[in-house]
């Protein structure tokens, strides 16, 4: 419990800053909604003149843009990017900094098992991420309602919740990376290339509309078009995502209790 509280306290400032800046970015993008909605109306006119088959292929994409959750789901890609960086930073640093700050011998000589230490750290990560998401929602929901009082809140919240799922995936990946490596000198040097790599794979994949690519990058596990149309997540991706998280955490425990941790 002490470890948990200590970790939570030391990451408090960091997650509050992250949550507020992500919420501010979301608010900025949401405020653009009204400017864009007129463009959408104009394009819907163009669509009426093209063959029906083509209109169906592209029309849904544009039709969904004309509601606030539809627009939000597309700008949400960039918020997922920020959230993923935060989560991976947190996951890597919470485990690796005992070694990089040379406090590993201090912690490991305490009468608690390594599994309990990792437990406390995982819980602190989870609570930080939950708190981040709650702060984020506390800002974005009022802004969304002010832009469009008739916003479909169920869809809005379902899209917002994908931030939490994606963060969990990146946090567990970060913990696994930190457990596997002997010593990480710079957290961002590991997290940024990884997160941006996944992000770029996802962006290229979405322009092309390639299905298989979606399993490769956590950014594409939640397809906004599917959520908007069905008010549900795609089961196969949720299951894969949950499996990856559980597998990463389980492996982290197995490796961490046996790991040779270098002190001083």
């Amino acid at each position: 419990m002490n470890i948990f509280l200590h970790e939570l306290k030391s990451y408090r400032k960091s997650f509050i800053i992250w949550a507020i800046s992500m919420a501010a970015t979301a608010a900025l993008f949401l405020l653009l909604y009204q400017a864009i909605s007129s463009d959408i109306a104009a394009f819907t006119k163009v669509l009426e003149s093209v063959p029906e088959a083509l209109r169906n292929a592209l029309g849904f994409l544009v039709g969904s843009l004309s509601t606030l959750p539809g627009f939000y789901s597309i700008i949400f890609t960039y918020l997922l990017l920020c959230g993923a960086i935060q989560a991976m930073n947190l996951g890597i640093s919470i485990v690796s900094r005992e070694v990089s700050a040379k406090t590993a011998d201090f912690l490991l000589t305490k009468p608690v098992s390594r599994a309990i230490i990792l437990n406390a750290k995982l819980m602190a990560t989870l609570v930080s991420l939950v708190a981040t998401n709650l702060i984020f929602l506390a800002v974005t929901v009022p802004v969304a309602l002010s832009q469009d009082p008739g916003t479909n809140m169920q869809l809005f919240l379902m899209i917002s919740a994908t931030l939490f799922f994606v963060q969990l995936m990146f946090a567990s990946l970060g913990i696994l990376v930190a457990v596997v490596t002997r010593k990480i000198k710079s957290v961002v040097a590991v997290s940024l290339p990884t997160v941006f790599g996944f992000f770029i794979v996802g962006m290229l994949g979405s322009v092309i509309g390639d299905k298989a690519v979606r399993y490769l990058t956590p950014f594409k596990y939640f397809d906004p078009a599917y959520i908007l149309a069905n008010s549900a997540y795609e089961v196969s991706f949720v299951v894969t995502g949950a499996f990856l998280i559980v597998a990463a955490i389980a492996m982290s425990y197995l490796i961490y209790v046996r790991k040779d941790i270098h002190t001083v």
């Binding site: 900025l28 463009d39 093209v50 994409l61 597309i74 290229l204």
Partner: protein, 265 residues
């Protein structure tokens, strides 16, 4: 000279992996192009009718995606994002790592002024980003050339890479400046990348809404965009001046603050 060689050696592995990353990006992106081009003309015709703001929201940009050059123009933004992340992290780490790894004392007792140390480190940083730029250029020319059916593309790639290099230098110096000012060596790379991420998000917002056009000079990502560079074949004067301004100011700040700061040992 020793410091320069030492830094080159220390960053060699990382440079290798970044180059490998660029290779995968370009191969992967252009392989997508091959499948995309076969999917037919009609969809691209329709895409070309989407208003510019909507295209930005959907991620298509202003390119003719049926041509290798247009597709590469879209890919360029992501190549730019990768190389500038590399530059920002390199710039801040090359200075901050001495304090982070507690090697400052060792370096500072050498009979060398701090300015000379900085010059050697910045030269090594410049050499690294120049190498990454050359690797990207060579890979782009050879790989995109495979897909461009007779289309002259080398000139376009050269001008894009020149723009990329200016941005790399901008972010290298920004990172170095932040490290020279910041007292905490652990957070300087985070600050540098936060600045970069903020600049990227501003550029996305500017694409989406024409009312934000006034902000375009606030973000370096709008200085050298693929579409105008490929269309005109030259740089926008204001953008070049602004880039030079950022480089000079942050370069000056690097020397000024690093020479005066109480380094933590």
């Amino acid at each position: 000279m020793n410091i320069f060689l030492r830094e080159m050696k220390a960053n060699l592995t990382s440079l290798f992996f970044w180059s490998l990353g660029m290779l995968f990006m370009i191969i992967g992106g252009m392989a997508k192009f091959a499948t995309y081009v076969n999917s037919g003309q009609s969809i691209t015709d329709l895409i070309s009718q989407i208003p510019a703001t909507l295209r930005a929201v959907l991620g298509f940009g202003d390119f003719d995606l049926t041509k290798a050059s247009g597709f590469y123009g879209m890919l360029y933004l992501y190549l730019l994002l990768m190389t500038t992340i590399h530059a920002a992290m390199l710039g801040s780490n090359i200075i901050a790592k001495e304090e982070r790894d507690k090697t400052t004392e060792f370096l500072m007792v050498k009979p060398m002024s701090r300015s000379r140390i900085l010059t050697a480190k910045l030269a090594a940083g410049l050499a690294n980003i120049a190498l990454l730029n050359l690797v990207t250029m060579a890979l782009s020319i050879s790989i995109v050339g495979q897909y461009s059916t007779g289309e002259a593309i080398t000139g376009d790639i050269l001008i894009l890479m020149a723009g990329m290099f200016i941005l790399q230098v901008v972010f290298l110096f920004l990172g170095a400046g932040i490290s020279a000012v910041s007292r905490d060596p652990k957070i300087s790379a985070s600050i540098a990348t936060t600045v970069l991420l903020g600049a990227y998000l501003i550029s996305v917002a500017v694409d989406m809404s024409s009312s934000l056009n006034a902000l375009r000079y606030l973000t370096p990502f709008k200085y050298f965009e693929a579409a105008p560079l490929m269309a005109t074949g030259g740089f926008d004067v204001i953008s070049v001046m602004l880039s030079l301004g950022i480089i000079i100011v942050s370069g000056f700040a690097t020397y000024y603050f690093y020479n005066r700061r109480d380094l933590c040992v």
